[in-house]
């Protein structure tokens, strides 16, 4: 299966839907949804609602996120928005503001 990489210098404004892994090192504004993993790299800026199979945030995300499997907030990552997921980890040094809904 292929892979989608939004490189550091790239900006996408609009709606991205994917069946595969999406790695963001650049900027996304709008909506991002993937059936697979979404990886927001350090330095990436995402101003979008994100839905994914799993989500890992090492960069900056502003928007509501949902992941069917898990959300990992990594050191240096920053998330402002509500999270809906089954499992979540927040590493030391990550910033987070929002609500978590773990569907309990």
């Amino acid at each position: 299966m292929g892979q989608t990489i939004i490189g550091q210098g790239l900006t996408i404004e609009g709606e991205i839907t994917s069946e595969e892994e999406v790695m963001v090192a650049g900027t996304v504004r709008g909506r991002l949804s993937s059936d697979g993993a979404v990886i927001i790299d350090a330095g990436a800026v995402v101003e979008a609602d994100v839905s994914a199979g799993s989500l890992s945030v090492g960069g900056t995300v502003t928007g509501n996120v949902s992941a069917s499997d898990r959300v990992d907030l990594l050191t240096g990552g920053r998330l402002v928005g509500d999270v809906k997921t089954a499992r979540i980890t927040i590493q030391d040094g990550a910033s987070f503001k929002g609500n978590v809904d773990m569907d309990v």
């Binding site: 989608t4 990489i5 490189g7 790239l10 991205i16």
Partner: protein, 125 residues
């Protein structure tokens, strides 16, 4: 900062972006570096590097780059500071403009070719 943990794959400093086969974009794509499109894009693409529309990919919108290489489908104009190459098997409806424009045998093309263009020095906004 820039301490990327746990990411299993490395991105080489944003030099190349890939919109994979299973990916669909509706909106604007712009920025630096090269871009390879394998999926579907509805919207304009303006990149400072090279743009390649791979076989099986489809773009509806105008495409700008340093060079533009077309192997898939394009409905829209392709403008390059350098070469525009339309490979065999590509389907293009739109105008092509660049310092060089080449069409391979087996490509289908409907539109105008403008090989002499006065492009503004700033392709990108």
């Amino acid at each position: 900062m820039a301490r990327s943990t746990a990411a299993p794959t490395d991105v080489n400093e944003g030099t190349e972006s890939i919109l994979g086969r299973g990916t669909r974009v509706r909106g604007r794509v712009r920025g630096d570096g090269d871009l390879r499109i394998e999926g579907f894009v509805e919207g304009d693409v303006a990149i400072s590097g090279d743009v390649t529309i791979e076989e099986g990919a489809s773009v509806k919108g105008d495409v700008q780059g340093t060079t533009v290489t077309l192997c898939g489908e394009l409905h829209g104009d392709a403008t390059a500071r350098g070469a525009v190459v339309v490979r065999a098997g590509a389907k293009v409806s739109g105008n092509l403009g660049g310092s060089e424009v080449s069409l391979e045998e087996g490509a289908s093309f409907e539109g105008r070719i403008e090989a002499e263009l006065d492009l503004p020095p700033e392709l990108m906004r």
